[in-house]
Protein backbone atom coordinates (compact mmCIF):
# COMPACT_ATOMS: atom_id res chain seq x y z
CA UNK A 1 0.00 0.00 0.00
CA UNK A 2 1.31 3.44 -0.89
CA UNK A 3 0.47 6.83 0.58
CA UNK A 4 0.21 10.14 -1.26
CA UNK A 5 2.94 12.59 -0.42
CA UNK A 6 2.70 16.24 -1.35
CA UNK A 7 5.81 18.11 -2.50
CA UNK A 8 6.02 21.88 -2.57
CA UNK A 9 8.59 24.06 -4.35
CA UNK A 10 10.09 26.65 -2.03
CA UNK A 11 12.28 29.52 -3.10
CA UNK A 12 15.19 30.16 -0.77
CA UNK A 13 13.70 33.25 0.80
CA UNK A 14 13.06 34.01 4.46
CA UNK A 15 9.49 33.24 5.47
CA UNK A 16 8.55 30.91 2.61
CA UNK A 17 8.29 27.81 4.84
CA UNK A 18 6.32 29.77 7.44
CA UNK A 19 3.90 30.97 4.74
CA UNK A 20 3.21 27.50 3.40
CA UNK A 21 2.74 25.88 6.81
CA UNK A 22 0.47 28.72 7.93
CA UNK A 23 -1.83 28.19 4.94
CA UNK A 24 -2.24 24.57 6.00
CA UNK A 25 -2.52 25.36 9.69
CA UNK A 26 -5.25 27.94 9.11
CA UNK A 27 -7.24 25.40 7.10
CA UNK A 28 -6.90 22.77 9.82
CA UNK A 29 -4.69 20.40 7.82
CA UNK A 30 -3.05 17.81 10.06
CA UNK A 31 0.66 17.35 9.35
CA UNK A 32 2.06 13.94 10.23
CA UNK A 33 5.51 14.02 8.63
CA UNK A 34 7.69 16.39 6.70
CA UNK A 35 11.14 16.74 5.23
CA UNK A 36 12.85 19.64 3.56
CA UNK A 37 15.45 19.00 0.87
CA UNK A 38 17.48 22.02 -0.09
CA UNK A 39 19.87 23.17 -2.79
CA UNK A 40 21.72 26.46 -3.02
CA UNK A 41 18.74 28.10 -4.72
CA UNK A 42 15.55 26.34 -3.72
CA UNK A 43 14.02 23.72 -1.45
CA UNK A 44 11.52 20.90 -1.87
CA UNK A 45 9.15 20.49 1.05
CA UNK A 46 7.64 17.00 1.33
CA UNK A 47 4.56 16.51 3.44
CA UNK A 48 2.33 13.75 4.73
CA UNK A 49 -1.05 15.30 5.48
CA UNK A 50 -4.44 13.96 6.52
CA UNK A 51 -6.20 15.52 3.53
CA UNK A 52 -3.97 15.59 0.44
CA UNK A 53 -6.68 16.76 -1.92
CA UNK A 54 -7.65 19.77 0.16
CA UNK A 55 -3.98 20.62 0.74
CA UNK A 56 -3.25 20.53 -2.98
CA UNK A 57 -6.17 22.83 -3.66
CA UNK A 58 -5.11 25.27 -0.95
CA UNK A 59 -1.49 25.44 -2.05
CA UNK A 60 -2.28 25.73 -5.75
CA UNK A 61 -4.68 28.55 -4.96
CA UNK A 62 -1.86 30.27 -3.09
CA UNK A 63 0.31 30.09 -6.23
CA UNK A 64 2.60 27.27 -5.08
CA UNK A 65 4.04 24.66 -7.45
CA UNK A 66 3.08 21.25 -6.00
CA UNK A 67 3.18 17.60 -6.98
CA UNK A 68 1.84 14.31 -5.63
CA UNK A 69 4.04 11.22 -5.28
CA UNK A 70 3.10 7.76 -3.99
CA UNK A 71 5.52 6.78 -1.21
CA UNK A 72 5.79 3.94 1.31
CA UNK A 73 5.39 4.24 5.08
CA UNK A 74 6.57 1.46 7.37
CA UNK A 75 5.90 1.14 11.06
CA UNK A 76 9.06 0.03 12.85
CA UNK A 77 9.91 -0.65 16.47
CA UNK A 78 11.55 2.27 18.23
CA UNK A 79 14.79 0.42 18.97
CA UNK A 80 18.31 0.23 17.55
CA UNK A 81 18.65 -1.74 14.35
CA UNK A 82 15.06 -1.78 13.19
CA UNK A 83 15.54 0.79 10.40
CA UNK A 84 18.59 -1.10 9.14
CA UNK A 85 16.50 -4.26 8.89
CA UNK A 86 13.94 -2.64 6.60
CA UNK A 87 16.62 -1.00 4.48
CA UNK A 88 18.49 -4.28 3.98
CA UNK A 89 15.26 -5.90 2.77
CA UNK A 90 14.99 -3.13 0.16
CA UNK A 91 18.66 -3.39 -0.74
CA UNK A 92 18.49 -7.17 -1.16
CA UNK A 93 15.54 -6.71 -3.51
CA UNK A 94 17.57 -4.21 -5.59
CA UNK A 95 15.32 -1.28 -4.70
CA UNK A 96 16.96 2.17 -4.56
CA UNK A 97 15.86 4.64 -1.92
CA UNK A 98 15.66 8.16 -3.36
CA UNK A 99 15.08 9.71 0.06
CA UNK A 100 13.55 8.82 3.41
CA UNK A 101 12.35 10.58 6.51
CA UNK A 102 10.67 9.71 9.80
CA UNK A 103 7.30 10.58 11.19
CA UNK A 104 5.88 11.07 14.62
CA UNK A 105 3.39 8.49 15.79
CA UNK A 106 0.90 8.12 18.55
CA UNK A 107 1.68 4.45 18.78
CA UNK A 108 3.83 3.74 21.79
CA UNK A 109 7.33 2.43 21.10
CA UNK A 110 6.85 2.63 17.37
CA UNK A 111 7.95 4.99 14.60
CA UNK A 112 6.89 5.50 11.00
CA UNK A 113 9.51 5.82 8.33
CA UNK A 114 8.63 7.19 4.90
CA UNK A 115 10.49 5.81 1.86
CA UNK A 116 10.54 7.22 -1.63
CA UNK A 117 11.89 4.37 -3.78
CA UNK A 118 12.45 3.81 -7.48
CA UNK A 119 10.03 0.87 -7.67
CA UNK A 120 7.10 0.75 -5.26
CA UNK A 121 5.82 -2.62 -6.61
CA UNK A 122 9.13 -4.39 -6.06
CA UNK A 123 9.52 -2.83 -2.63
CA UNK A 124 6.04 -3.99 -1.54
CA UNK A 125 6.77 -7.51 -2.79
CA UNK A 126 9.97 -7.64 -0.75
CA UNK A 127 8.17 -6.30 2.31
CA UNK A 128 5.47 -8.98 1.97
CA UNK A 129 8.11 -11.73 1.77
CA UNK A 130 9.65 -10.55 5.03
CA UNK A 131 6.39 -9.91 6.86
CA UNK A 132 6.75 -6.13 6.80
CA UNK A 133 3.48 -4.25 6.36
CA UNK A 134 3.42 -0.93 4.53
CA UNK A 135 1.12 1.41 6.42
CA UNK A 136 -1.97 2.97 4.91
CA UNK A 137 -2.88 6.63 5.19
CA UNK A 138 -5.47 5.55 7.74
CA UNK A 139 -2.78 3.79 9.82
CA UNK A 140 -0.63 6.90 9.73
CA UNK A 141 -3.34 9.28 10.84
CA UNK A 142 -5.70 7.21 12.97
CA UNK A 143 -3.34 4.64 14.42
CA UNK A 144 -3.70 5.92 17.99
CA UNK A 145 -3.78 2.77 20.06
Amino acid sequence: MTIEQISVFLENKPGRLAEVTKIMGDAGVDLRAMSLADTADFGVLRLMVNDPEKTLELLRAAGCVVSVTPVLAVCIADKPGSLAEVLSVLADAGVSVEYSYASITRKKDNAYVIFRVDDNGRALEAFAKHGITAASAKDLFNGAE
Partner: protein
Protein backbone atom coordinates in the same frame (compact mmCIF):
# COMPACT_ATOMS: atom_id res chain seq x y z
CA UNK B 1 57.26 58.21 -30.62
CA UNK B 2 56.36 55.33 -32.91
CA UNK B 3 53.72 55.37 -35.59
CA UNK B 4 52.80 52.81 -38.21
CA UNK B 5 51.52 55.34 -40.77
CA UNK B 6 52.66 58.70 -39.46
CA UNK B 7 51.42 60.68 -42.47
CA UNK B 8 47.85 59.63 -41.64
CA UNK B 9 48.05 59.36 -37.85
CA UNK B 10 49.63 62.80 -37.47
CA UNK B 11 48.15 64.62 -40.46
CA UNK B 12 47.10 68.24 -40.01
CA UNK B 13 43.41 68.77 -39.45
CA UNK B 14 43.08 70.55 -42.80
CA UNK B 15 44.75 67.87 -44.87
CA UNK B 16 42.77 65.13 -43.09
CA UNK B 17 39.51 66.96 -43.83
CA UNK B 18 40.45 67.31 -47.45
CA UNK B 19 41.37 63.63 -47.71
CA UNK B 20 38.12 62.64 -45.96
CA UNK B 21 36.05 64.85 -48.25
CA UNK B 22 37.61 63.39 -51.40
CA UNK B 23 37.21 59.83 -50.19
CA UNK B 24 33.65 60.45 -48.97
CA UNK B 25 32.51 61.88 -52.31
CA UNK B 26 34.02 58.91 -54.11
CA UNK B 27 32.54 56.28 -51.79
CA UNK B 28 29.06 57.84 -51.74
CA UNK B 29 29.06 57.60 -55.52
CA UNK B 30 30.27 53.99 -55.27
CA UNK B 31 27.51 53.06 -52.80
CA UNK B 32 24.81 54.90 -54.74
CA UNK B 33 25.77 53.10 -57.92
CA UNK B 34 26.10 49.63 -56.40
CA UNK B 35 23.87 49.24 -53.33
CA UNK B 36 20.23 49.29 -54.31
CA UNK B 37 18.73 49.59 -50.82
CA UNK B 38 20.95 52.54 -49.84
CA UNK B 39 20.27 54.23 -53.18
CA UNK B 40 16.56 53.94 -52.39
CA UNK B 41 17.12 55.43 -48.92
CA UNK B 42 18.98 58.36 -50.49
CA UNK B 43 16.32 58.83 -53.17
CA UNK B 44 13.59 58.76 -50.51
CA UNK B 45 15.44 61.48 -48.62
CA UNK B 46 15.90 63.48 -51.81
CA UNK B 47 19.70 63.32 -51.66
CA UNK B 48 21.83 62.47 -54.66
CA UNK B 49 25.55 61.69 -54.80
CA UNK B 50 26.08 65.16 -56.27
CA UNK B 51 24.82 66.75 -53.05
CA UNK B 52 27.76 65.35 -51.11
CA UNK B 53 30.71 67.61 -51.81
CA UNK B 54 32.63 67.45 -48.53
CA UNK B 55 32.46 66.07 -44.97
CA UNK B 56 30.21 69.03 -44.12
CA UNK B 57 27.48 67.38 -46.21
CA UNK B 58 27.64 64.13 -44.25
CA UNK B 59 24.49 64.86 -42.17
CA UNK B 60 22.48 64.97 -45.41
CA UNK B 61 22.95 61.22 -45.86
CA UNK B 62 20.41 58.79 -44.35
CA UNK B 63 21.37 56.89 -41.20
CA UNK B 64 21.76 53.15 -41.50
CA UNK B 65 20.62 50.88 -38.66
CA UNK B 66 21.25 47.30 -37.65
CA UNK B 67 17.68 46.54 -38.76
CA UNK B 68 18.53 47.75 -42.26
CA UNK B 69 21.45 45.32 -42.22
CA UNK B 70 19.24 42.45 -41.14
CA UNK B 71 16.85 43.24 -43.94
CA UNK B 72 19.65 43.28 -46.46
CA UNK B 73 20.99 39.91 -45.28
CA UNK B 74 22.91 38.27 -46.79
CA UNK B 75 24.02 40.02 -49.98
CA UNK B 76 21.90 43.18 -50.04
CA UNK B 77 24.72 45.51 -49.02
CA UNK B 78 27.50 43.90 -51.00
CA UNK B 79 28.81 46.74 -53.17
CA UNK B 80 31.23 44.87 -55.42
CA UNK B 81 30.89 41.88 -57.76
CA UNK B 82 31.39 38.54 -55.97
CA UNK B 83 34.55 38.15 -58.01
CA UNK B 84 36.13 41.03 -56.10
CA UNK B 85 35.12 39.92 -52.60
CA UNK B 86 37.59 37.64 -50.83
CA UNK B 87 36.42 37.30 -47.22
CA UNK B 88 33.36 37.07 -44.99
CA UNK B 89 33.31 37.86 -41.27
CA UNK B 90 30.26 37.80 -39.05
CA UNK B 91 28.90 39.14 -35.79
CA UNK B 92 28.36 36.73 -32.91
CA UNK B 93 24.74 36.26 -33.97
CA UNK B 94 21.55 37.96 -32.93
CA UNK B 95 17.85 37.38 -32.52
CA UNK B 96 16.90 36.98 -36.13
CA UNK B 97 19.65 36.93 -38.69
CA UNK B 98 23.29 37.57 -38.06
CA UNK B 99 25.17 40.30 -39.86
CA UNK B 100 27.71 39.20 -42.42
CA UNK B 101 30.32 41.64 -43.70
CA UNK B 102 32.33 41.32 -46.91
CA UNK B 103 35.87 42.35 -47.73
CA UNK B 104 37.88 42.88 -50.87
CA UNK B 105 41.62 42.32 -50.57
CA UNK B 106 41.94 46.09 -50.29
CA UNK B 107 39.43 46.16 -47.44
CA UNK B 108 41.42 43.52 -45.57
CA UNK B 109 44.64 45.44 -46.21
CA UNK B 110 43.26 48.65 -44.73
CA UNK B 111 41.70 46.78 -41.79
CA UNK B 112 45.02 45.11 -41.04
CA UNK B 113 46.75 48.50 -41.33
CA UNK B 114 44.40 49.81 -38.67
CA UNK B 115 45.28 46.92 -36.37
CA UNK B 116 48.96 47.45 -37.12
CA UNK B 117 48.60 51.08 -35.97
CA UNK B 118 47.15 49.79 -32.69
CA UNK B 119 50.01 47.35 -32.18
CA UNK B 120 52.65 49.98 -32.90
CA UNK B 121 50.87 52.46 -30.61
CA UNK B 122 51.09 49.80 -27.89
CA UNK B 123 54.85 49.69 -28.39
CA UNK B 124 54.95 46.76 -30.80
CA UNK B 125 57.57 46.28 -33.50
CA UNK B 126 59.42 43.68 -35.53
CA UNK B 127 61.10 42.17 -32.48
CA UNK B 128 57.88 41.54 -30.62
CA UNK B 129 56.03 38.28 -30.15
CA UNK B 130 52.32 39.04 -30.43
CA UNK B 131 50.14 36.48 -28.65
CA UNK B 132 46.61 36.61 -30.10
CA UNK B 133 43.97 34.78 -28.09
CA UNK B 134 40.92 36.39 -29.61
CA UNK B 135 38.85 33.76 -31.40
CA UNK B 136 39.76 33.03 -35.02
CA UNK B 137 37.05 32.34 -37.57
CA UNK B 138 33.94 34.38 -38.25
CA UNK B 139 34.77 36.62 -35.27
CA UNK B 140 36.90 39.58 -36.38
CA UNK B 141 39.11 39.66 -33.27
CA UNK B 142 41.58 36.93 -34.20
CA UNK B 143 41.94 37.65 -37.95
CA UNK B 144 42.22 41.41 -37.35
CA UNK B 145 45.03 41.40 -34.81
CA UNK B 146 46.71 38.49 -36.59
CA UNK B 147 46.85 40.51 -39.81
CA UNK B 148 47.97 43.64 -38.01
CA UNK B 149 50.78 41.78 -36.31
CA UNK B 150 52.00 40.39 -39.65
CA UNK B 151 52.04 43.89 -41.12
CA UNK B 152 54.11 45.21 -38.23
CA UNK B 153 56.48 42.30 -38.77
CA UNK B 154 56.03 40.92 -35.27
CA UNK B 155 56.26 37.21 -34.67
CA UNK B 156 52.60 36.21 -34.47
CA UNK B 157 51.31 33.54 -32.12
CA UNK B 158 47.82 32.61 -33.42
CA UNK B 159 46.57 30.94 -30.23
CA UNK B 160 42.85 31.65 -30.71
CA UNK B 161 40.68 31.34 -27.58
CA UNK B 162 40.44 28.67 -24.89
CA UNK B 163 42.78 26.19 -23.18
CA UNK B 164 44.26 28.55 -20.61
CA UNK B 165 47.07 26.21 -19.56
CA UNK B 166 48.31 25.96 -23.13
CA UNK B 167 48.00 29.76 -23.53
CA UNK B 168 50.24 30.29 -20.51
CA UNK B 169 52.72 27.63 -21.59
CA UNK B 170 53.18 29.21 -25.05
CA UNK B 171 53.31 32.68 -23.53
CA UNK B 172 56.16 31.61 -21.24
CA UNK B 173 58.04 29.31 -23.63
CA UNK B 174 57.99 31.71 -26.58
CA UNK B 175 58.51 34.91 -24.59
CA UNK B 176 55.33 36.62 -25.82
CA UNK B 177 55.60 40.39 -25.35
CA UNK B 178 52.18 41.67 -26.45
CA UNK B 179 48.91 40.00 -25.47
CA UNK B 180 45.70 40.50 -27.51
CA UNK B 181 42.40 39.30 -26.03
CA UNK B 182 39.25 40.49 -24.28
CA UNK B 183 39.87 42.38 -21.03
CA UNK B 184 37.98 39.79 -19.01
CA UNK B 185 40.13 37.01 -20.41
CA UNK B 186 43.23 39.07 -19.69
CA UNK B 187 42.10 39.41 -16.07
CA UNK B 188 41.44 35.69 -15.89
CA UNK B 189 44.84 34.89 -17.43
CA UNK B 190 46.53 37.26 -14.97
CA UNK B 191 44.92 35.52 -12.04
CA UNK B 192 45.84 32.06 -13.32
CA UNK B 193 49.41 33.10 -14.12
CA UNK B 194 49.89 34.37 -10.58
CA UNK B 195 48.13 31.38 -8.98
CA UNK B 196 50.28 28.91 -10.91
CA UNK B 197 53.48 30.74 -10.07
CA UNK B 198 54.34 31.84 -13.64
CA UNK B 199 54.43 35.57 -12.94
CA UNK B 200 58.25 35.58 -13.02
CA UNK B 201 58.36 33.65 -16.30
CA UNK B 202 56.31 35.98 -18.51
CA UNK B 203 57.91 38.64 -20.70
CA UNK B 204 54.74 40.59 -21.54
CA UNK B 205 55.10 44.36 -21.81
CA UNK B 206 51.73 45.36 -23.24
CA UNK B 207 48.22 44.16 -23.86
CA UNK B 208 45.64 45.19 -26.47
CA UNK B 209 42.25 44.42 -25.02
CA UNK B 210 38.88 44.96 -26.71
CA UNK B 211 35.55 43.51 -27.84
CA UNK B 212 33.90 44.36 -24.54
CA UNK B 213 33.50 47.37 -22.27
CA UNK B 214 35.85 47.60 -19.30
CA UNK B 215 36.66 50.07 -16.57
CA UNK B 216 39.72 52.13 -15.73
CA UNK B 217 39.89 50.24 -12.45
CA UNK B 218 40.05 46.95 -14.30
CA UNK B 219 42.81 48.33 -16.53
CA UNK B 220 44.95 49.31 -13.53
CA UNK B 221 44.36 45.92 -11.95
CA UNK B 222 45.44 43.98 -15.06
CA UNK B 223 48.45 46.27 -15.49
CA UNK B 224 49.57 45.72 -11.89
CA UNK B 225 49.08 41.97 -11.97
CA UNK B 226 50.89 41.37 -15.25
CA UNK B 227 53.35 44.27 -15.07
CA UNK B 228 52.23 45.61 -18.46
CA UNK B 229 50.57 48.60 -20.09
CA UNK B 230 47.01 47.74 -21.10
CA UNK B 231 45.48 49.43 -24.16
CA UNK B 232 41.89 49.59 -25.28
CA UNK B 233 40.91 48.84 -28.87
CA UNK B 234 37.51 49.30 -30.50
CA UNK B 235 35.80 48.05 -33.58
CA UNK B 236 32.80 46.31 -35.01
CA UNK B 237 32.31 43.79 -37.75
CA UNK B 238 29.89 46.03 -39.63
CA UNK B 239 32.55 48.73 -39.97
CA UNK B 240 35.52 46.32 -40.39
CA UNK B 241 36.57 44.81 -37.07
CA UNK B 242 39.00 45.72 -34.29
CA UNK B 243 41.14 48.75 -35.05
CA UNK B 244 38.40 51.19 -36.00
CA UNK B 245 39.93 53.06 -33.07
CA UNK B 246 42.84 52.33 -30.74
CA UNK B 247 44.55 53.71 -27.69
CA UNK B 248 47.94 55.37 -27.54
CA UNK B 249 50.44 55.79 -24.70
CA UNK B 250 48.30 58.51 -23.13
CA UNK B 251 45.54 55.96 -22.41
CA UNK B 252 42.82 58.60 -22.38
CA UNK B 253 40.60 57.39 -25.19
CA UNK B 254 40.85 55.73 -28.57
CA UNK B 255 42.08 57.44 -31.75
CA UNK B 256 39.66 56.83 -34.61
CA UNK B 257 41.32 55.88 -37.89
CA UNK B 258 39.71 58.87 -39.56
CA UNK B 259 41.34 58.38 -42.93
CA UNK B 260 39.11 55.27 -43.25
CA UNK B 261 36.17 55.90 -40.92
CA UNK B 262 34.44 59.20 -40.20
CA UNK B 263 32.97 59.33 -36.70
CA UNK B 264 29.92 61.39 -35.71
CA UNK B 265 27.96 61.60 -32.48
CA UNK B 266 24.18 61.87 -32.86
CA UNK B 267 21.25 62.22 -30.53
CA UNK B 268 19.91 58.64 -30.56
CA UNK B 269 16.33 59.90 -30.26
CA UNK B 270 16.34 62.50 -33.06
CA UNK B 271 19.28 61.49 -35.22
CA UNK B 272 20.64 65.09 -35.06
CA UNK B 273 24.41 65.51 -35.05
CA UNK B 274 25.68 66.70 -31.66
CA UNK B 275 28.56 69.12 -31.13
CA UNK B 276 31.99 67.85 -30.10
CA UNK B 277 32.18 66.86 -26.44
CA UNK B 278 28.55 65.88 -26.13
CA UNK B 279 27.58 62.35 -25.25
CA UNK B 280 25.52 60.45 -27.80
CA UNK B 281 25.37 57.56 -30.23
CA UNK B 282 28.47 56.86 -32.27
CA UNK B 283 27.96 56.73 -36.05
CA UNK B 284 30.55 55.61 -38.60
CA UNK B 285 30.93 56.24 -42.32
CA UNK B 286 33.34 54.03 -44.25
CA UNK B 287 35.17 56.11 -46.83
CA UNK B 288 37.68 53.60 -48.18
CA UNK B 289 36.12 50.16 -47.85
CA UNK B 290 34.64 48.86 -51.09
CA UNK B 291 32.85 45.52 -50.48
CA UNK B 292 30.76 46.52 -47.47
CA UNK B 293 30.98 50.31 -47.28
CA UNK B 294 28.39 51.33 -44.71
CA UNK B 295 27.53 55.03 -44.71
CA UNK B 296 26.37 56.65 -41.46
CA UNK B 297 26.02 53.35 -39.62
CA UNK B 298 24.54 53.64 -36.13
CA UNK B 299 26.69 51.62 -33.73
CA UNK B 300 24.28 52.00 -30.78
CA UNK B 301 27.37 52.62 -28.65
CA UNK B 302 27.22 55.72 -26.48
CA UNK B 303 30.40 57.79 -26.11
CA UNK B 304 31.99 61.24 -26.51
CA UNK B 305 34.40 62.49 -29.22
CA UNK B 306 37.27 64.83 -28.43
CA UNK B 307 39.73 66.76 -30.60
CA UNK B 308 41.90 67.96 -27.73
CA UNK B 309 45.59 67.68 -28.70
CA UNK B 310 47.10 64.35 -27.63
CA UNK B 311 50.59 64.05 -26.16
CA UNK B 312 51.30 61.10 -28.46
CA UNK B 313 51.33 63.46 -31.44
CA UNK B 314 48.44 61.81 -33.25
CA UNK B 315 45.83 64.20 -34.56
CA UNK B 316 43.16 61.55 -35.03
CA UNK B 317 39.95 62.33 -33.13
CA UNK B 318 39.60 60.41 -29.87
CA UNK B 319 36.50 58.56 -28.68
CA UNK B 320 35.93 58.00 -25.00
CA UNK B 321 35.38 54.71 -23.27
CA UNK B 322 31.92 53.37 -24.13
CA UNK B 323 29.30 54.66 -21.73
CA UNK B 324 26.48 52.32 -22.66
CA UNK B 325 24.33 51.09 -25.49
CA UNK B 326 21.14 52.40 -27.02
CA UNK B 327 19.49 49.02 -27.42
CA UNK B 328 18.89 46.07 -25.15
CA UNK B 329 21.80 44.01 -26.31
CA UNK B 330 24.02 42.84 -23.51
CA UNK B 331 27.67 42.07 -24.03
CA UNK B 332 28.53 39.35 -21.56
CA UNK B 333 32.09 38.01 -21.53
CA UNK B 334 32.48 39.52 -24.99
CA UNK B 335 29.45 37.68 -26.38
CA UNK B 336 26.33 39.48 -27.64
CA UNK B 337 23.27 38.37 -25.69
CA UNK B 338 19.74 39.50 -26.50
CA UNK B 339 17.01 39.00 -23.91
CA UNK B 340 14.74 37.70 -26.66
CA UNK B 341 17.11 34.78 -27.21
CA UNK B 342 16.51 33.65 -23.62
CA UNK B 343 12.81 33.92 -24.26
CA UNK B 344 13.10 31.70 -27.33
CA UNK B 345 14.95 29.01 -25.37
CA UNK B 346 12.39 29.03 -22.58
CA UNK B 347 9.51 28.71 -25.01
CA UNK B 348 11.30 25.92 -26.89
CA UNK B 349 11.73 24.08 -23.57
CA UNK B 350 8.02 24.33 -22.81
CA UNK B 351 8.48 26.95 -20.11
CA UNK B 352 6.74 30.27 -19.70
CA UNK B 353 8.75 33.25 -20.98
CA UNK B 354 8.98 34.70 -17.50
CA UNK B 355 12.61 35.31 -16.74
CA UNK B 356 15.07 37.87 -15.52
CA UNK B 357 18.69 38.25 -16.54
CA UNK B 358 21.11 39.27 -13.80
CA UNK B 359 24.51 40.46 -14.92
CA UNK B 360 27.26 41.55 -12.58
CA UNK B 361 31.01 41.64 -12.54
CA UNK B 362 32.88 39.76 -9.85
CA UNK B 363 36.71 39.75 -9.88
CA UNK B 364 36.65 41.35 -13.35
CA UNK B 365 34.63 38.50 -14.83
CA UNK B 366 31.01 38.88 -15.88
CA UNK B 367 28.54 36.78 -13.97
CA UNK B 368 25.47 35.75 -15.93
CA UNK B 369 22.43 34.42 -14.17
CA UNK B 370 18.96 33.76 -15.51
CA UNK B 371 16.06 33.53 -13.09
CA UNK B 372 13.36 31.29 -14.52
CA UNK B 373 9.86 30.91 -13.18
CA UNK B 374 9.21 27.28 -12.43
CA UNK B 375 6.27 25.46 -14.02
CA UNK B 376 4.46 22.44 -12.52
CA UNK B 377 5.87 20.31 -15.38
CA UNK B 378 9.42 21.10 -14.39
CA UNK B 379 8.86 20.38 -10.72
CA UNK B 380 9.52 17.02 -9.08
CA UNK B 381 9.71 15.69 -5.54
CA UNK B 382 13.36 14.72 -6.13
CA UNK B 383 16.15 17.27 -6.43
CA UNK B 384 17.88 14.99 -8.93
CA UNK B 385 15.10 15.34 -11.48
CA UNK B 386 14.82 19.09 -11.07
CA UNK B 387 18.60 19.40 -11.53
CA UNK B 388 18.45 17.32 -14.70
CA UNK B 389 15.84 19.65 -16.16
CA UNK B 390 17.83 22.68 -15.00
CA UNK B 391 20.94 21.32 -16.74
CA UNK B 392 18.99 20.70 -19.95
CA UNK B 393 17.90 24.32 -19.84
CA UNK B 394 21.49 25.53 -19.35
CA UNK B 395 22.61 23.38 -22.29
CA UNK B 396 19.86 24.81 -24.52
CA UNK B 397 20.88 28.36 -23.55
CA UNK B 398 24.51 27.58 -24.22
CA UNK B 399 23.60 26.25 -27.66
CA UNK B 400 21.69 29.44 -28.43
CA UNK B 401 24.01 32.03 -26.87
CA UNK B 402 27.46 30.51 -26.95
CA UNK B 403 27.92 31.04 -23.22
CA UNK B 404 26.37 29.29 -20.23
CA UNK B 405 24.30 31.18 -17.71
CA UNK B 406 23.62 30.00 -14.19
CA UNK B 407 19.94 29.11 -14.15
CA UNK B 408 18.05 29.74 -10.91
CA UNK B 409 14.49 28.52 -10.51
CA UNK B 410 12.07 30.84 -8.78
CA UNK B 411 8.41 30.56 -7.85
CA UNK B 412 5.77 31.33 -10.50
CA UNK B 413 4.77 34.98 -10.80
CA UNK B 414 7.57 35.99 -8.43
CA UNK B 415 9.66 38.05 -10.85
CA UNK B 416 9.37 41.80 -10.59
CA UNK B 417 6.95 43.42 -12.99
CA UNK B 418 6.40 47.11 -13.32
CA UNK B 419 3.13 48.28 -14.82
CA UNK B 420 2.50 44.87 -16.26
CA UNK B 421 5.84 44.84 -18.01
CA UNK B 422 8.49 42.49 -16.74
CA UNK B 423 11.92 43.77 -15.79
CA UNK B 424 13.98 41.57 -18.07
CA UNK B 425 17.49 42.73 -17.39
CA UNK B 426 19.23 43.78 -14.22
CA UNK B 427 22.77 44.81 -15.12
CA UNK B 428 24.75 45.66 -11.99
CA UNK B 429 28.11 45.96 -13.72
CA UNK B 430 29.90 49.21 -12.97
CA UNK B 431 31.92 50.04 -16.04
Amino acid sequence: MNYYQEEMECATRESMRELQSNRLVENVRHVYDNVRCYRKMMDDKGVGPGDIKSVDDLPKLPLLSKDDLKEAYPYGLLAVPLADAVRIQSTSGTTGKRVVAFYTQGDIDLWEDCCARAIVAAGGGKDDVVHVCYGYGLFTGGPGLNGGSHRVGSLTLPMSSGNTDRQIQFMCDLDATILCCTPSYAAFLAETIIDQGFRGKIKLKAGIFGAEAWSEEMRRDIEARLGIKAYDIYGLTEVSGPGVSFECCEQTGMHVNEDHFIAEIIDPATGEVLPEGEQGELVFTCITKKAFPLLRYRTRDICVLSRKPCSCGRTLVKMSRLMGRTDDMLIIRGVNVFPSQIETVLLNCGLTPNYQILVDRVHHTDTFEVLVELTPEMFSDTIKEISTRENELVAAMRAMLGISPKVTLVAPRSLARSEGKAVRVVDKRKI
